[in-house]
């Protein structure tokens, strides 16, 4: 019989990347929404996006696989799925540009208000 997944230690260990990804994603969203310091919000963006990349990598993982490089001699080796890695490269570029943009806006806000903390900013409106 199939054991109940929630109680099976093996499955929890095997799916650890997925659990970590979900945990980091929710932490990242919470950081963006609740932290008072604008720089920390930008860091939260990075945490959240990184967790999604971790999720993509975990999907593409094949357990006995090696890096997806095919040498002329050895054709039949099992390799990890390279497609999510290409998607992640695009995602990293997007995340990096969004971070740069957010930091530029933060610098501009600092020039206006002199502070990086959101609650002080609200008082100064």
């Amino acid at each position: 019989m199939i054991p109940i997944p929630a109680l099976d230690f093996q499955i929890i260990v095997a799916s650890f990347p997925f659990l970590a990804s979900i945990f980091l994603f929710s932490m990242g969203c919470l950081i963006i929404l609740t932290q008072q310091n604008l720089i920390k919000k930008v860091i939260g963006i990075n945490v959240m996006e990184t967790s999604i990349f971790l999720f993509f990598l975990a999907i593409g993982n094949i357990i006995p696989g090696g890096p997806p490089i095919v040498r002329p001699g050895m054709e039949e080796v099992i390799y990890v799925n390279p497609l999510p890695q290409a998607l992640i490269l695009t995602g990293i570029v997007v995340s990096f540009s969004v971070t740069a943009f957010a930091l530029a806006i933060t610098v501009s806000l600092y020039r206006f208000y002199g502070t990086v903390y959101v609650d002080e900013l609200m008082k100064m409106r």
Binding site: F25, G28, C29, I32, L33, L38, K41, I45, M48, E49, I52, F55, F56, I59, L83, P84, L87, T90, G91, V94, S97, V98, F101, A102, I105, T106, S108, L109, F112, Y113, L121
Partner: protein
């Protein structure tokens, strides 16, 4: 061919860097060319055929496809038409609001936004859709930021942070779909998902939910709309019109495409997702209108009105019937006309009199009759009075609600017409009927480049209200292709 606007938009930053005053006219020319290409494609597709273009000549599923099916054709013609008109409108307003050395960059962001929206509508590949979502999102934030004032900077940061959360959810959902199906092309995902759906019910529900939240943040569905009033009220007038009328809609259309093409129309009614969308959209309609009633700044009032109208579109989407989908698509197009017209009126009023507060609008009908006339027509259309465009979409929505026996929704649609009236008609009344000692009646002193798009949009609205035939066939084609397959 299809890639011409994309390439042109990338050449724009180079041209804009050298000559600052000419870039608005160059933008106008480029959007005009793109509009002609898009309408040609739309005419090709009207009989119901689709037109597929493979990037780099790699066939699907290895390559990315660009598909012009009826929905795409409808949306790209709408998008390019409005980008052209707003480019015409923005020649004067951008000079007024954006600092002079930044106008080149403003039009760069404008053309990149056009690129992103067109790519989003045309693509058939889910990861390309994500890339286009990001392009559109970042350029929209750049357009909000163009003024450089304190409010604009805060609003754009808020928009950026929330938009990034939305993109994160979308990317996560793409990851879910990829993990189950292994394809990235929308048609192939649909085929695989049909086979695999029974084994992973929770995962498919989670993916649908994440897509709804992600696109809902970007499209300002009710509890996720918090960035919209600040962003749309502190943006320059041209980009407010663009954002409110088009950008919010392309996200809804891509959500429609994902829900109907990938998941299948039975997913909406079979899962709690349809009920959830209905609840959220009803809250959006009522809440958006009530918030709009209390706003005094005209642009914030129009922004909350956008929240309510997005609620209408989601109501049509959540009904799950063919008429509901037709209503949603119709409202996307017609609301684009109405909102762009309203924001253009706001722009002309600001240009001539410098007024932004609704309380000061009294007697404006005497000195700006054309603008306030356009405002009246757009407001009557928003309320849903027959003979103007809004009636068509509200009628389709009521028809869709009656198909599902949801008479509460019919009452909601009618009630929301009254709520819409409560915050538009006072402006109209004040403009025309208050007794003020004004000068004699004369026409607006607003340059022709701002009047012409306003008149075009208003005339288009009246034309669609009186003879909606051709547009109805396009929309019905689009809806039937979505619901029942090509």
């Amino acid at each position: 061919m299809v890639l011409f606007p994309l390439i042109c938009a990338f050449l724009m930053p180079i041209m804009a860097y050298f000559k600052k005053e000419v870039c608005s006219y160059i933008t106008l020319a480029i959007t005009g060319i793109v509009f002609f290409i898009a309408s040609y494609l739309a005419f090709v597709v009207i009989p119901g055929r689709s037109f597929v273009f493979h990037i780099g000549h790699w066939e699907a599923p290895w390559g990315i496809e660009l598909v012009v099916d009826p929905l795409s054709a409808l949306m790209i013609s709408t998008i390019t038409a409005f980008c052209f008109l707003i480019a015409l409108f923005s020649i004067k307003t951008v000079r007024m609001e954006v600092p002079l050395d930044k106008t080149g960059w403003y039009y760069t962001a404008y053309l990149l936004l056009l690129t992103g929206m067109l790519g989003l509508m045309l693509t058939n590949d889910i990861f390309n859709m994500y890339v286009m979502v990001e392009i559109t999102g970042i350029c929209a934030v750049a357009l909000v930021l163009a003024r450089g004032t304190k409010e604009a900077t805060e609003a754009s940061l808020k928009y950026l942070l929330l938009a990034v959360i939305g993109s994160g959810f979308i990317l996560f959902a793409i990851g879910f779909l990829y993990s189950v199906t292994g394809n990235l092309n929308l048609d192939y995902i649909a085929a695989e998902l049909g086979l695999v759906k029974e084994y992973y019910p929770y995962l498919v529900w989670t993916a649908m939910g994440f897509f709804l939240v992600g696109f809902g943040i970007k499209a300002a569905l009710f509890p996720l709309h918090l960035w919209l009033p600040d962003a749309h009220s502190s943006a320059p007038y041209a980009s407010s019109a663009l954002l409110s009328g088009l950008v919010v809609k392309v996200y809804i259309i891509s959500l429609v495409r994902i829900f109907y093409q990938v998941f299948g129309p039975d997913m909406l009614t079979g899962t709690p997702m349809g009920t959830l969308i209905l609840i959220l959209s009803s809250m959006a309609i009522v809440g958006g209108s009530i918030f709009a009633y209390t706003q005094l700044d005209l642009k914030r009032r129009l922004a909350y009105s956008t929240v309510a109208q997005v609620g209408y579109i989601f109501l049509g989407l959540g009904l799950g019937t063919s008429w509901g989908l037709v209503a949603a698509l119709l409202h996307v197009v017609i609301h684009a006309f109405m909102k762009v017209g309203l924001f253009m009126v706001a722009g002309t009023v600001y240009f001539q009199t410098g007024k932004k507060n609704v309380l000061y609008f009294s007697g404006l009908g005497r000195i700006m009759p054309v603008s306030m006339g356009a405002f009246t027509i757009a407001s009557l259309s928003m309320i849903g009075i027959p003979l103007f465009g809004g009636f068509i979409s509200k009628y389709a929505l009521a028809q869709g609600s009656m198909e599902v026996e949801g008479y509460g929704f019919v009452a909601l649609v009618v009630l929301s017409g009254l709520l819409n009236a409560s915050y538009y008609l006072p402006i109209v009344w004040q403009a025309f009927f208050t007794e003020e000692k004004r000068e004699t009646f004369h026409l607006d002193m607003v340059p022709l480049s701002m009047m012409a798009p306003l008149l075009a949009v208003t005339l288009g609205l009246v034309y669609l209200g009186v003879t909606p035939g051709r547009m109805m066939t396009m929309v019905e084609n689009a809806a039937s292709v979505l619901m029942f397959g090509p």
